[in-house]
Point group: C2
Chain length 346, copies 2
């Protein structure tokens, strides 16, 4: 049987990025797809990509690092890769068969040949929207869950502050904090997002940080008793304003610092001596270290979603042509909720 | 019996301090001593001060704080207070009697009436130098012990870096780290101090940070595999240089940030994103939270000292007239080892 050639639209990195990324740093090209049938003897699988996730850490992979970074650099001319939801078209691996729904690392393209299918996971809750496996049931969900419970060690009644609170991770942290019995306030970059936080995600309060000229004063107003837990997504000036407003023995989960990702010289944070005087713990974490927790998380989160105890807002753009703009939109706050790309609606 | 009046030399705060402190911010005056006999019915004790401790945190107490700081501000015109070693002259308290040797909070003066003698501790190892209770058996010792074991959670083989390493706290941290089986390097501000670290305290290596134009490069040279534990005494540029040189899951015990204490606007620290990517834990602590651990610590440390397993270097100035210069000398690195004042040799 002769292999038919199929065309494969894909997003490649055009050049390494410095500073703020632009659509021109990527290119949408059409190439030849991989073989639609796995060659005999190979354990690879071929997948059709349904949804791909846009995540802030991809920016780091677009930089050329002299000293290797915590994730591998993308290579100019090659397809971008990240987590996605896929359907298996052809499989040489005993654990997968054509028609299986899976999620894991794939290419920003229509079809991908995956050589290490052990890295893929089955979709255990296909009754929920499949796209959730790029978000609330995928990496952002596990990030929120591990970061909040393992790093923040929340107690009922704790005062919790979340930055980038309406985003892929933040909206989940806030809802988990409410379920835990915390008092939760989030900041976000538009009134629409603030409204979502208050009306849809059940935050106790929320504010638009772009309208607050004095962030320290805002935090004092919103947290007259101080902050027990800060879930840090933003870094820089936000962290600096939070530090003096922490309570004794407060905890800062350092999840990300998106305000710094496009800066050649990161901002200085001045208020670190409060870590001593207030006996704060600031701890960084990466979701990749919590894989062994995934199954427990998936079951718990799927149950919350089915019971309506957690609501998830997605920002879906359609088609790979829209993917570069969606990715860079993370850094201007264009996304409302979890940003993802529907590659194929099938 | 008529009370005799005795003169009492004392060091008072002359005015609140901004910026770098100077001797002129304090004044050595002679006042009338408290009664040498405790009035009937009072539970106070009167002590004669033998040794008083000079500690960096006293600088914070010389600032006028609008919002209360973590320790009370000193009051202009009033005597400075801090930890010292004293002999009881007269006691109205059932737990103390004349002749007892004690340590605790006292005045920077010859004689002090202490209204809450419950705050004082007996000297349990008078066979060791009494002055040790301002240092290795006092607050600096407990700071090193609690900070190193409780916050750093060291393991054999860990790579440990200590700043202000020859000081009151640092020299003990380094020796405890060696006892634990760690590889230990310290930084200090003179060749004499570096020499002490290497020859007397048994550090594996040490360097003079004032001679290193590029601290990042120095750390890369001294820690080619990176740092597991950073015992932070200095803050600012030192912390910034340490962060990229930490190893995965490294721990930073935020003990103090002396380079920042005299600055109106603290320096910015730029490399905090490494807390995320290297999954670091940075945790502040105050020795005052570890009082309940003191007894265990005292016995363990006294044994180390008696066995010669820990050596302690002190910098003793004689007489209260020399106290203001000794205190401000902490901020220029004048002290070699633990700075203290011998008020009376008796
Ligand atoms: N540690 C981990 O393993 C891990 C895993 C996933 C994500 N993360 C981190 O978690 C954070 C949130 O990620 P996410 O996936 O949930 O993204 P997201 O919040 O859905 O999208 C990014 C959001 O960040 C905000 N933002 C962008 N630039 C900003 C700036 N300069 N200052 C302040 N806010 C800015 C924008 O929201 P506003 O409109 O509200 O400003 C934007 O919508 C990121 O820092 C990411 O790197 C970490
Ligand atoms: N958390 C707590 O409960 C607690 C308790 C006690 C002490 N501490 C802190 O621990 C640290 C050490 O205290 P210590 O009592 O052991 O004092 P110390 O080290 O005996 O004396 C201070 C030393 O700091 C160094 N130093 C001064 N200014 C500096 C600057 N601008 N940059 C770099 N180094 C500078 C000098 O040493 P070099 O010549 O080596 O520069 C000086 O000798 C301080 O930050 C202190 O606040 C905290």
């Amino acid at each position: 049987m002769a292999a038919t050639t199929v065309s494969n639209k894909r997003v490649i990195l055009k050049r390494y990025v410095t500073g703020f990324p632009s659509e021109e740093d990527m290119e949408v090209v059409t190439a030849e797809a991989p073989l639609m049938a796995v060659p005999a003897g190979s354990e690879a699988v071929v997948v059709k990509n349904l949804y791909i996730s846009c995540d802030p850490y991809m920016r780091n992979r677009m930089t050329h690092h002299e000293v290797p970074s915590y994730v591998a650099d993308y290579v100019p001319g090659e397809v971008l890769t990240n987590y996605g939801v896929m359907t298996v078209i052809s499989s040489g691996h005993p654990d997968f068969k054509a028609g299986d729904l899976v999620w894991g690392i794939t290419g920003w393209e229509e079809y991908t040949m995956i050589d290490n299918p052990e890295s893929l996971s089955k979709i255990n809750h296909p009754d929920l929207p499949l796209s959730y496996y790029t978000g609330v049931l995928g990496l952002p969900g596990l990030t929120a869950y591990a970061g909040f419970f393992e790093i923040c060690k929340p107690k009922k009644g704790d005062y919790v502050f979340i930055s980038a609170a309406s985003g892929a991770v933040g909206q989940i942290v806030g809802q988990l904090a409410k379920i835990t019995g915390c008092y939760v306030i989030g900041s976000a970059g538009s009134d629409e997002k603030v409204n979502l936080l208050k009306t849809k995600f059940g935050f106790d309060d929320a504010f638009n940080y772009k309208k607050e000229l004095d962030l320290d004063a805002a935090l004092k107003r919103y947290f007259p008793k101080g902050i027990d837990i800060y879930f840090e997504n933003v870094g820089g000036a936000t962290l600096d304003a939070v530090l003096p407003n922490m309570r004794l023995r407060g905890r800062i989960a350092a999840c990300g610092m998106i305000s710094q990702y496009n800066l050649d010289n990161p901002d200085g944070v001045h208020n670190l001596f409060y870590i001593v005087t207030k006996r704060l713990r600031m701890e960084g974490f990466l979701v990749f270290d919590y894989n062994e927790m995934y199954h427990r998380f998936e079951e718990e989160m799927a149950a919350y979603l089915k019971e309506g105890k957690i609501i998830y807002v997605e920002d879906v753009v359609v088609g790979l042509d829209a993917a570069p703009a969606a990715l860079i939109g993370l850094f201007t706050g264009r996304n409302v909720g979890k940003q993802l790309v529907a590659v194929s609606q099938e």
